[in-house]
Amino acid sequence: MLESIVFYTLATLIIAFGVLVVTTRNTVHCVLFLVANFLCVAMVYVLLAAEFLAIIQILVYAGGIVVLYLFVVMLVNLQRPADAVPGRRRQSRAGFVLAAVMLAEISAILVFSAAKPASAVASAAPAPAGLGNTQVVGMLLYSDYLVPFEVASVLLLVAMVGAIILARKEA
């Protein structure tokens, strides 16, 4: 019961903040709504017993990426809003249609798979008792997924070098 209340509250907040991110004219307000959205998503992770993911979400998304966005928004400091030009109505309508089709498609898949009896998905061996979520994720990350982990670190290094080179003023 409590879980239901928390979930519906969070879901409403997530959808509301998502709509606000997409519709608000002021870009700074957009970024702030994005922070609120990320925090609500982090709470959903807690609800799903993924505490480590929730912390990562808050640290990396709400703390890092959003600050990056804010910096760029402040740096470019637009005099005229980029959305001021009207027109392109056709593309807007196409956007709504595309999103509606996508939503209908996913909902249809969900409904049809819900109608079927639960397939026997062999669930992996449950985590040994006494281990926290962070320990389980860490052990997976450093054993089964070691190579992807290293590739991700190289990717982050390349992205960092690339971002510095791109944003640097030409000497």
Binding site: G18, G64, V72
Partner: protein
């Protein structure tokens, strides 16, 4: 009023709705920064999906993949915003309709 217990389907529907909002944002907004933010919304929807399945199947691999998605999103944001800054320095605009130099 009685509430049904929360199943993974609830999370999947939430994720689908968030993903659709992201699609609308990418299609209707002309500000390149807002478009990048909409892409972040869509990545978050995918992460909710991964976490929900990880919870249902009692397998932490989904959370590991969500962490990889977050890492890639961070790289994408850094490079994307660097490109936006470099572009803004040249053309003084953030409107995607004016970014048509390489359009055929």
């Amino acid at each position: 009023m009685t509430l049904t217990p929360i199943t993974p389907y609830h999370y999947l529907v939430l994720s689908a709705a968030l993903f659709s909002i992201g699609i609308v944002g990418v299609m209707i907004r002309r500000n390149i920064i807002v478009i990048l933010m909409s892409i972040e919304l869509m990545l978050n929807a995918v992460n909710i999906n991964l976490a929900a399945f990880s919870y249902q199947l009692h397998n932490a691999a989904g959370q590991v993949f969500a962490i990889f998605v977050i890492a890639v999103a961070a790289a994408e944001a850094a490079v994307g915003l660097g490109i936006i800054l470099a572009f803004y320095r040249n053309k003084e605009t953030l409107n995607v309709d004016e970014m048509n130099t390489m359009r055929w």
